[in-house]
């Protein structure tokens, strides 16, 4: 299931030999999450993850019910901007912005205020409620932090959008200053399981990421911490990652799927199978029933025509328009999809 499969050849789906057992497993999860309102245990999630492919639709249906019961039908729409692109000293093996790989992405300096504001206005014009300013850095230096603390209130005042920031590893003081500047949500992805992290990043440790996530919470910003699936991690490691996220309790979890980037060490991997992606969206919703689960990068290449299915498998937020260095599908397509699904666009706040 975890080995990426060439997308050209259809993969036969696996059938359950024990349909009654599968139904019982799903019924127990449904009772816990919908009737008792209790989160599932790690072992329960592991059992659900082992269900054969023909159980993905009932699994997704349950995840959708859980999303509706815990978070309602609204979908939070966000625009993102790479305000400082490329030239990053870190070596995240999936990333086209690392200076360590021979990537086509050329480093560009911090965009000026007018350009950031214009991008925020584009975002507001699409009906989004959140705008995230993203920088390709290990962490913010003094100048970067000063720029951010000016920009965030400016964007907020000009557009009325909630402003999120993603600027790498933070110190306690960085986190305090960003919180004071009015950063609504801070993004810092775990990306992958602790046990797999060393195969993907060697320039910083998983623990540093987790520590920044803790600082974000401590300074009362909302925590956005996402994942990147399809880098060669095993199913057990995906479950491990889910469990580690459950410990951190992020308000938002963006789900990225690997879109292999030329020049990076992961350039030759295949995107994961669409059906497998739906299974893991559902499992992440079942493991994180109250979170904002956002469609992020790689959904177009991974899910293709199944993008609407992810919206009924637990997703309740999306990044609209383009990503950091790659393009998204047209915003009209996403907005029409939400209309057809009868999911209103609206801000989602942290669960108290």
């Amino acid at each position: 299931m975890t080995e990426p499969t060439p997308t050209a050849t259809p993969v036969a789906i696996g059938f359950t030999r024990d349909p009654a057992g599968a139904r019982e497993l799903l019924a127990r999860a449904s009772g816990a999450l919908l009737d008792d309102r209790r989160p599932l245990a790690d072992e329960e999630l592991a059992a659900l993850a082992a269900l054969p492919d023909d159980q993905v639709v009932p699994l997704a249906a349950l995840a959708h019910q859980v999303r509706l019961a815990w978070r309602g039908p609204n979908v939070e729409v966000e625009g993102i901007l790479s305000a400082r692109t490329g030239g990053c000293p870190e070596d995240c093996h999936f990333c086209s912005q690392s200076s360590r790989f021979d990537s086509p992405v050329k480093a560009t300096p911090f965009l000026d205020d007018a350009e950031v504001l214009a991008a925020a206005r584009e975002t507001a014009g699409l009906g989004a409620s959140e705008f995230c300013i993203v920088l390709a850095v290990r962490g913010p230096d003094a100048r970067t932090l000063a720029r951010l603390t000016e920009l965030v209130p400016m964007v907020r005042a000009e557009t009325g959008l909630n402003v999120a920031v993603s600027a790498g590893i933070l110190t306690d003081d960085d986190a305090r200053r960003l919180a004071e500047a009015g950063v609504h949500r801070y993004n810092h992805n775990l990306e992958t399981a602790r046990s797999f992290f060393g195969s993907i990043v060697t320039t910083h440790r998983w623990e540093e990421r987790a520590e920044t996530c803790r600082l974000v919470r401590e300074h009362q910003m909302e925590l956005c911490s996402g994942v990147l699936l399809g880098m060669g991690e095993t199913d057990a490691q995906r479950l491990e990652l889910l469990s580690q996220l459950r410990d951190l309790q992020p308000d938002e979890v963006p789900i990225n799927f690997l879109n292999p980037r030329p020049g990076t060490p992961l350039a030759d991997r295949q995107p994961i199978d669409a059906w497998e992606a739906i299974r893991w969206i559902a499992l992440f919703r079942l493991g994180l029933p109250g979170t904002i689960l956002r469609y992020a990068g790689g959904r177009e290449v991974t899910l293709r025509d199944l993008q609407a299915m992810g919206m009924t498998a637990g997703i309740n937020a999306l990044i609209i328009g383009n990503y950091l260095t790659t393009l998204g599908r047209s915003p009209d397509e996403d907005l029409r999809m939400l209309e057809d699904l009868r999911m209103p666009v609206g801000a989602l706040s942290a669960v108290i």
């Binding site: 692109t85 050329k106 790659t326 393009l327």
Partner: protein, 83 residues
């Protein structure tokens, strides 16, 4: 129209590119000289600038959407935007 001599996906001379066909990537290399361009991607558009040959794409312009490997027009340079 300027001749598209280089692949905007990989920067190789057009005839030596085996096919970069990525529809969801902005152009990364100048179609005229094959240099890496400074690319700004915003939620609704992208803009790519060659030090020599100016800027492709642009704000809100529908051509600023996926067309990375189509024939591209080069507009006069806008100075002082990027490094």
């Amino acid at each position: 129209m300027t001749a598209v001599a280089f692949c905007t996906g990989c920067g190789r001379p057009r005839e030596r590119c085996a096919g970069c066909g990525r529809s969801l990537d902005p152009p990364r290399f100048c179609p005229t000289c094959g240099r890496r361009m400074a690319v700004v991607v915003t939620p609704l558009s992208w803009r790519a600038r060659c030090l020599e040959h100016g800027t492709l794409g642009g704000d809100g312009e529908p051509e600023g959407r996926p067309r990375a490997h189509a024939g591209v027009e080069v507009s006069p340079d806008t100075p002082g935007e990027l490094d």
